[in-house]
Subunit: 168 residues, 2 copies
């Protein structure tokens, strides 16, 4: 890190929010899991990807937010900083972006993400009706790139659960 | 912009440096110009590109740095904030990144860029030997993507100039 008087904790906080506004991603992803009672696994994550030759900022995120992992993407030369723990998302990542807000329209995605993480933290992804709500709100988020499953596919899986539950 | 006590001029400065560390580009590009005395046009620029639906940060750069233009890329949905004026690069952009330094290895590119802009500001791109030096240092910068011309192609053009000059 360069030795500059401007670089205190507050400055790094602003800097990382700026970096994350460009390169960060707030994502709620879903995977069908027939063995789970709810049939869907819900995985919230905050991540920042970067070419391997510029890992410094990822290490700064890890150090500053005091959580998350950095791992290499085996398919290309990029590295990814990622926080998946709901406890860390609720206790460290979300408070950071509330203190140092995003300034672009990505802020709207963050706000949905924060609300969804709170629902997950409260266990609302374990109940069918609130899980449906989580799926619906998640699919209103922009900038998530290609989704592996269509929203209706996931909602159909949850509806199958109703049939299954009522037939037993 | 969100109304937050943390968001003063200093905070925005840090934020924009963080954003630029991820999404910004410092570039010196060259074009053969047979009609120019030096045979090569030299164009320094600082730019940040962004999807059209997230232009806010580009406007913030323009407002904060008090220079540059925003224009639409006709070939896709992106917008680009760009500063080409050497006066603005020397007087506004470079001082900003000296005050709020980049924290990744992109900082090394910025330092080369700043040195080259100073050379251009002093008119050293108008003399053949120092123009060769500008080409050589520019091609030591990373992260510039695909270069339109190979370094040797440009240096050969400058060598042609010697022949031309000596035959007149």
């Amino acid at each position: 890190m360069p030795n500059t008087p401007a670089l205190n904790t507050h400055s790094i906080g602003q800097y990382l929010s700026g970096y994350a506004d460009g390169e960060g991603s707030f994502c709620i992803s879903f995977s069908p899991r027939p063995k789970l009672r709810t049939l869907l696994e819900v995985r919230p994550s905050f991540s920042v990807s970067q070419n391997g030759d510029r890992q410094e900022v990822l290490k700064l995120f890890q150090q500053y937010l005091d959580c998350g992992t950095i791992r290499k993407n085996p398919s290309d030369r990029t590295f990814k900083y990622e926080v998946r723990s709901i406890k860390d998302l609720i206790g460290k990542v979300i408070p950071h972006f509330l203190k140092y807000p995003l300034l672009s329209s990505k802020k709207k995605d963050f706000e949905k993400f924060a609300a969804l993480c709170r629902m997950i933290y409260e266990g609302k992804h374990l109940k069918q009706d609130t899980l449906k709500e989580i799926v619906t709100i998640s699919y209103q988020m922009n900038g998530l790139g290609a989704r592996r499953y269509k929203k209706q596919t996931l909602l159909n899986i949850l509806s199958e659960d109703i049939v299954y539950a009522s037939s037993n």
